[in-house]
Each structure stands twice: as structure tokens, then as C-alpha cells.
Subunit: 417 residues, 2 copies
């Protein structure tokens, strides 16, 4: 498919790619829960036991039988005799009879017979061994009953949940110290270009250091994938095909930055198309920067399953922006993460008029400047190829395809890098 | 300082804590740039060389002398003779004389004599060895001059910059394959409570598994700190003091979850106050959940510097919310990160009326439900101590202290967990 015959909007292009991927259950591995931060659950997690395992007080106060202090008030307190104090971490050695109360601390176990807790602030010590209740409590008040947080049996975390601090804490509360998580998808990263050299080398005139292998590795890592760098491939058909084929066999996704010139981009698309069916699905996307994007799905001819192959522009700014639009959703799809979860942003006022071509999606790097009312978004204008433009930016601003630009003062949504 | 004599607003309480910390230069270590994702620069990074190192074309086209094609148009093209093709990754073996052009690809080095590039779309091959320019170009057009992206010498990244994909790419472009970053602050995490046991143990009646050690470790790790767990400490003065003192000597920050009941919280505050001057600065913050928060700065009596010591509520939900308000800013301060950088959020419409006590800051866990217009924020109501409440929430909603609640339909800002 030659370049730019048909320019799809990014959303449509992504749908074409994702819809062409086989539906598969992600491979799963078991890890220690305390090392699972940022991993994704490989299946639904079911509670093995009720939480809490026993009826606990949620306040400091006195365990009571609610019916004993029905109608109690400041002017008409109810006297209760003290049955004892509930030990933390143990079972009360007594049970409550009619007219009795027991001193209890937050988290303590309710003694047998008690069905509520009155807060210490609503009581008064009458004399040693007795306490006055100054108000009534409903049965169950200030008590967390056994299984009230989580019953035994139901799903507490769905498959595809990204594990943050709260999820890890919940698993620990249930004694689940090992957890099945989705194996990180291996993402092959290839750089191409005869002028590109390794960063540790000193460029001769005409040469530049590889940027894309490292920006893309970091992006993949940030989003839960496992980057595998295949180095810099010369712009020759045989070399490209050989390394692409190896990467397709060894990894779950293949990304190649497809050289800067039209001829090397066309060569890349041609070679990708020979890797396996169905081949190149999209060549050219209606987005700036990043028009010369290649989206393909190729079946590994050695017998593997069909895998996404993405050709990114050689320009490092374009490559990183486009990877955010296509590589990140592919990695999340392979992880089984919900694609519709909310994307946080920073609302800001635009500092200048921004023109844009109707029908095209534009992504503009912006700096956010704090002011009394919130933030001002100041676009960073740049010539091609300046990765430090993105390093200086706080986020990216989207001009949607149905706009012909945005006016100064408009409220815009900035997606943080 | 006994509990709750004076309740400070969270912002004021944080200011008291941060202003009592000594001003110090964070310790720095050098790491491989390709392993520096998420690390923070330990000093300003200065460009060792200009970027690009040579004048490059930003398009596919012909390198020209701009003055040769001044006035060229479709109707009045200027004929140029072809001096050659610029090789990718090398120096052109020729220079341009008057009336000459050279075929050049994106990223190619401009030959000597050339001062602009005309895009291939604006040219026409007249006959072998000659090309027609169909429009004029300005000097410097479609060219990135040597040093135009980054000159040698200036600062390209400030100290305290968090390294993301773009920053890592920029460092690689300059050949900076090693980078000084701030050493991760060690954050001691202590759990207390006689009823608390390790997650791998089976609780007897009255016992619960430790949650806080693990939620807080994950939070600290997420924000660039290095969590050091000191395990579960019994609620006894000597034991608390001994472990707190050891943690203060070994780590940069100490966090202790201070038991659930008022008596154990008071004990924790008393022990913290004996660790070293100035001691407890804040005991009780006007926020829900998390009122019984202890903020202290203690000088290690063994001769170390003054370090923050934070006593969090024992309730796992409160502990995690409060850690976001106090522990995260402290870790960021020790990393040297800009405290005023934008915090991304998701705007949403509130689904129900939410009451709140005037003068108090309330944090409410919410679920975000997508609809045609954006998101609806549905508060999750919960009893005490339910860590799965936070696991089910997409984010937290703030009711500011000057509000007495929020109305259904109000547009609110949800901070993603």
C-alpha cells in the first residue's frame, strides 16, 4: 500500500488495527503481591474469606446491646454495668448480658451478645464499674460486621485491573501474598536509518545518535510493556526483512521507526507487507505530527499468531507522539486493560490563536504556566526533529479534526506527558 | 502535644512540616540513562555539544542557494543543474556553486554553499541532470542549522526534572549515556497495633492482617522513594521508641501508622516527641478522613540531621489518603521536584448531593462513569477501614473547606488514584 493514498483519522486507524488483532487470553504469571505495583491482574480475584473475619468496632467506646439503651439521652441516661475491656488482637473472655457494656477500642472484636458500639464521647463514667449511655444507638451502629466489607466468594478485583497501592493493600488484607498478573508484552523496538549511530558513539559529520530506540523503550516501560531493543538497522531490504522477521518471531509487538525520507518509509512499508498476512492495513494517518505512520498485523510465518507491527515516523517528536496514539493502546490491549478508563488532564486557557487544518488532528506541545485562575497553556513552536521540545513541554494539546484552530483564551484540555 | 487541641487545615499543616525541614542538597548518584525512567535529575544538565552537529534538511527535496531561485514560480521556474545526491550519514563530496542544486533526503547534511532546501513537491525534473524550482525559498528554509536545536553550553534540563521518554531521548541525542540523579529517599514504614499480623499469617479471632505497610510502600515507590519496611511494632512505649529510633537513624523519612484507638495514637505522639528536637509540630488535621495525623521533625540524636516523622491514622483508607497529602510532598521535596507542577485530573459531574462540614477538607472516593457528555462522579459511601473502597474507586474528590457540601450536577475535579 503506497504512502498517503488514503489518510484515516487516528481513531479510525487505531480501530482498524485493534479489530484485526486476534482475540486471545493474555499469558499469566504469578508474582509476589508486594512486588506487583503497576502490574495487571491476569484473572478475576475472588475473596477466599470474609473481611472482616469478625465483628469489629469502628470507634473507641463501649460495646452494648442496642436495645438496652433505647431512648437514652443526656437528660435521661441509661446506666450500664461494666463487663470488662476487650483486648486488642484477642477474643473477649466474657459475653454481654442485659444491662452490660464493655470498653472497646477501634478495631476491637465485639463480645458475644453485643450488637452495637456507643462512642466514648456519648458516655460518662458514673462510678467504677459502671457507665452512663447519653444517647441511643441503632443495632449495628459503629460496628463492621463479619463479611460486611467483603463476603467470602465474590470477585474483589476484575481481570485487567492495574494494581495500585489500594489494590495491593486489599490483596494483603485477604492474605493473597501471591497474585497472577498478565505477563508483560515484549515489544521489539527497531531503529532504521543509515545516518543513525548508537548514543555512546561520537557522530561523524552527517551522522546523528539514535533517539527513538530510547524514547520508545521508556514509553513502553511506562505503560507496562517489556521493551526489547534490536538496535539500528541499515535501510536495505534484506537487512530490514531479516531483523523484522526475527523480532516478529521473538516478541508480541514490533515497532520500527521507518527512516526520515519518503523512500525509506516506502521501503519499510514494503518489507512489513512481506512479513505475513494480512500485512499493512494503514499507511498514512490524518494527524500532525505523524502522517507517515504504518499500521500492520502480520502472522509470523514460522507458525505464530498474528501480531501488530507499527512503523513510526523517523522524526523523534513524531515517533513519540504517534507511539502514544498507537503503541500505548496496543500494549494496553495485550495487557487486557480497560481501554475506556478516564485519562487525566489539566484544564488551561490557551495563550495564543492556534491555526489548524480542518479534518486533521493536531497535537501541539505546550508549557503550563500557573496563574491565579489556574493554568495558561503556551504552545511550544518548533522546527522538525527537536526532542528537547517535548522535554520542555508539560503536556500535549489536541486540536480536534472538526476545528480549524483554537482561539486565544479558549479553555483547552492538556494531556500531561 | 495532645491530640486535637488545634486542628490545622491540611495545606497549613504541610507548610509547617516542610518549613521545619532543613534546606539541603539532595545526594546524587550516577545511573545509565536508559535505566533512568522516572528518576529525577540531580543537577542541571548542560549540553556538551551543539544539536544538530551539522546543518540538516528537514524535508525531502533539493539543497539550493536561496538567492539562485529568488522569484521562481510555477509560471516562471528557475532551472538548476544537479551537482549530486547527498548520502545519508555522510558528508557530501561536492559543494554548490551558483545555479546548482543537490538532491537531499530528510536528515541529510547540507552541502557547502547551500543555505536552504526546496521541497521535492515544489520542483520538477526538467531533464537528466537538471531540475526546475517552481517557487522561491528563504535562506534557512527547511533547514535545521547546526546548534539551532541546542547550542553547546546552555542548560537543557534543570535540576529536579523527572526523566520521562522525551528527556531520556534528549540526553541520548547529546551522547549523555550516564546521568546524575537524586538518590531515592529511604522511607521507613512501621505498622503498629497489637491486633495486626503479617499478611502471610492466618488471623486468629480478633486479629487482622497488616495492610498499611504495603499500601504505603507502594505509594512511596510510585513517587520515587525507596520503602523500607520495619514490620509490625507492638503498642508499647519501649518497643515503639526502639524501632522508631533505629528507623530515624537509617532512613530519610519515618512513617508510622499509629494504631486505631485514641490511646495508642497518643502513645505514638508521645514517643515521637522524645526522638529528637523539634518533635511533634502538628497533631490533628482538619481533614476527613485522617483527623488524627501527627507531623513531626526529629533530629537523630546520634548526630544526624533533622528528618520528617509522620504518624498516620491506623485506618487503611485514612492512612492512604493522608499519605497522599503529606508523605508524597515530603518525598518530592527530598527529591527536589517542583511542588507546583500541574496535577492532572478528570472533570466530572457529581451524581448526588454531598454534605460536608464547613471548615473541613473532605476527600471522597468516587467511581467515574462515562456518558455522552463526559464523566459522572459517583461517590462511594463506606464504613471505616474498607481498603477495597479505594480499590473500587477511580479517584478522589475534594470538597474544599469553604464549602458546606456540593450539589448534584456540579462540575467537580477528580484526582485519579
Amino acid at each position: 500500500m503506497p504512502e498517503f493514498l488514503q489518510l484515516l483519522p487516528p481513531t479510525d486507524a487505531l480501530a482498524v488495527l485493534l479489530n484485526s488483532l486476534p482475540v486471545m487470553i493474555p499469558p499469566v504469571e504469578e508474582v509476589n503481591t508486594n512486588q506487583a505495583l503497576g502490574r495487571v491482574t491476569g484473572g478475576a480475584v475472588v475473596s477466599p474469606e470474609p473481611l472482616p473475619a469478625f465483628s469489629r468496632s469502628t470507634v473507641d467506646g463501649y460495646a452494648v446491646r442496642a436495645r438496652d439503651i433505647f431512648g437514652a439521652s443526656e437528660t435521661l441516661p441509661v446506666y450500664l454495668s461494666l463487663a470488662g475491656e476487650v483486648p486488642m488482637g484477642g477474643v473477649p473472655a466474657f459475653s454481654l448480658s442485659a444491662g452490660q457494656a464493655a470498653l472497646i477500642h477501634t478495631g476491637g472484636m465485639l463480645p458475644e451478645g453485643a450488637d452495637a458500639v456507643i462512642m466514648i464521647e456519648h458516655t460518662q463514667v458514673a462510678r467504677p464499674g459502671a457507665v452512663e449511655a447519653l444517647r441511643a444507638v441503632a443495632p449495628g451502629e459503629n460496628e463492621l460486621r463479619s463479611g460486611e466489607a467483603v463476603a467470602a466468594g465474590p470477585i474483589v478485583l476484575f481481570a485487567g485491573t492495574c494494581l495500585g497501592p489500594a489494590e495491593i493493600g486489599g490483596l494483603m488484607a485477604l492474605g493473597l501474598t501471591r497474585i497472577p498478573v498478565v505477563t508483560r508484552p515484549r515489544v521489539a523496538i527497531l531503529s532504521s536509518g543509515d545516518e543513525v549511530i548508537e548514543p555512546e558513539q561520537t557522530p561523524r559529520p552527517g551522522q546523528v545518535r539514535d533517539i527513538n530506540s530510547y524514547t520508545l523503550s521508556a514509553l513502553v516501560e511506562q505503560h507496562g510493556g517489556c521493551p526489547q531493543r534490536y538496535g539500528i538497522i541499515p535501510d536495505r531490504r534484506e537487512a530490514l526483512e531479516q531483523v523484522l522477521r526475527r523480532a516478529l518471531g521473538e516478541c508480541d509487538v514490533v515497532i520500527i521507526t521507518a527512516g526520515s525520507s519518503a523512500s525509506t518509509r516506502d521501503l519499510t512499508a514494503e518489507v512489513i507487507d512481506t512479513l505475513g498476512p494480512p500485512g499493512v492495513l494503514v499507511h498514512g494517518v490524518n494527524v500532525k505530527p505523524g502522517k507517515p505512520t504504518i499500521l500492520a498485523v502480520c502472522q509470523d510465518l514460522a507458525g505464530g499468531s498474528a501480531k501488530p507491527v507499527i512503523g513510526l515516523p523517523g522524526n523523534p517528536v513524531s515517533a513519540l507522539v504517534i507511539a502514544g496514539l498507537f503503541v500505548v493502546p496496543v500494549v494496553e490491549r495485550l495487557l487486557g486493560v480497560n481501554p475506556n478508563r478516564p485519562r487525566p488532564l489539566v484544564p488551561a486557557r490557551l495563550s495564543v490563536n492556534l491555526p489548524s487544518q480542518a479534518g486533521r488532528e493536531d497535537w501541539i506541545p505546550v508549557k503550563l504556566v500557573k496563574n491565579a485562575a489556574g493554568y495558561t497553556a503556551e504552545p511550544i513552536f518548533y522546527k522538525s526533529n527537536l526532542i528537547f521540545t517535548l522535554a520542555q513541554a508539560d503536556g500535549m494539546l489536541l486540536i480536534p479534526p472538526d476545528a480549524t484552530g483554537l482561539e486565544a483564551g479558549a479553555v483547552v484540555e492538556v494531556f500531561i506527558l
